[in-house]
Symmetry: C2
Subunit: 251 residues, 2 copies
């Protein structure tokens, strides 16, 4: 089973959290750090392609991605799948599940991932003891909402070419901001099937659309992923500009 590929790691301190070194994130007070350390219950490794949790699950945990790529999706009863958003380092997974009873979407790892695991029970005490962290959670939820707004605009109104350009510009932007993409590591680990299910297009048409974009020189499609060569061109095509967030919170 896929579960085999999930494996619980050792309990290491938040002090050495690999995300903290990224200047994109806001600093914690010592008290907040201490609280987070208690709230945290371990680390999880998920293999590429493994399910982290499934729609309908009642999961006792809450995660923050430490490394790797993943995605959230929903399916209809006959199997049609819509990818809702991608998970990158620093992103929180399972907030909906922590607040409502059930998860109403699924999450799958795209590459190998390392996740920081939190108990969902003490969530309320986080609001009581550390209003700053509570505020951050609202910030995170509002941010996700804002991204979904843009995706909905994309799927509802943009043409196939515009949608593809938007998605790749968006992922490139987020990849750079989160640190998974650098000038050396430029590969975004998607298959064309993922792109298709994100854009609401068939695989065939997605392929033809990506081909056009590659022909224009804006990107290169490699074996199992792609490389953005000209993010500005993609943004112009999609009529989209990222809104930069300096010092975003996390956890």
């Amino acid at each position: 089973m896929e579960e085999d590929r999930l494996r619980l790691g050792v309990h290491t301190a938040c002090l050495v959290c690999p995300l903290r070194s990224n200047p994109a994130y806001r600093d914690f007070s010592p008290e907040e750090l201490e609280f987070t350390r208690h709230f945290r219950s371990g680390e999880l490794h998920a293999g590429a392609g493994s399910a982290i949790f499934h729609e309908g699950n009642q999961n006792a945990h809450l995660y923050t991605a430490l490394s790797g790529w993943g995605f959230r999706y929903k399916t209809l009863s006959d199997g049609r799948r819509q990818i809702l958003n991608y998970i990158l380092p620093g992103d929180m997974i399972g907030l909906q599940g922590a607040i409502f009873e059930e998860m109403n979407h699924s999450v799958e790892a795209l590459t190998e991932m390392r996740l920081c695991v939190f108990e969902r029970k003490p969530l309320y005490s986080l609001f009581e003891k550390h209003p700053g962290l509570g505020y951050d959670l609202t910030w995170i939820a509002a941010q996700e909402e804002s991204i979904l707004d843009e995706h909905l605009l994309s799927v509802g109104q943009r043409t196939a070419i515009e949608r593809a350009a938007y998605l790749l510009a968006f992922l490139h932007h987020r990849g750079r901001a989160s640190g998974v993409l650098t000038s050396e590591r430029t590969l975004m680990p998607l298959t064309q099937a993922h792109v298709a299910d994100t854009l609401g297009l068939s695989i065939v048409h997605t392929n033809k659309t990506l081909r056009k974009l590659a022909l224009s020189g804006a990107l290169r499609w490699l074996d199992r992923g792609c490389e953005v060569l000209d993010p500005d061109a993609l943004q112009r095509l999609a009529k989209w500009t990222p809104n930069d967030q300096r010092r975003r919170p996390f956890l």
Copy 2:
């Protein structure tokens, strides 16, 4: 100007808030009620069709709808419009704007609306002084996210008929839960242009699709709105079931 139709009302107490009588909402402690009263800065009346705020605005306020219908939308530079979600009594408007600098969507009134106005500045002190209310805000943001997930699934994967069925079942459900729809008041005040811009379809095709639904007896289209006759049939068509939330928070 549209602004003419916006008018500030008198400052009345939260104690008589028309929403509190609805058992769907959770009760406040006396302290929370007292705080809310201070946080609140007035009441706003918006005429049907008026803009409540616009993408890019830096709005100092935060609203909760008290009565009427409205909607959130985004547009592309060439005018294509995507309706993201509808605003019903009890819904919060402008949380994104309160947390980030700018609003990245617009809001328009569908019918005449009454809105409760809050200052956005003391938002942080809300988290400090009333963790329960802070938790509620996260609840609200997570709830909106969950709705957007479903909309995205709809626009990305469902066929025209399924999308229309989903939207009307969804609105009917929310209308009943919020109290704007009763067994006497059953009219949902939309035009087919709104439905089209929500579903990502043209007006013409939307019309043909709604006609089919009406023919099947699931709904009736009236002059400037529609009436759901058979919500279960719509849900079945859309392969969707609402997830009931008893005792939701607000403000």
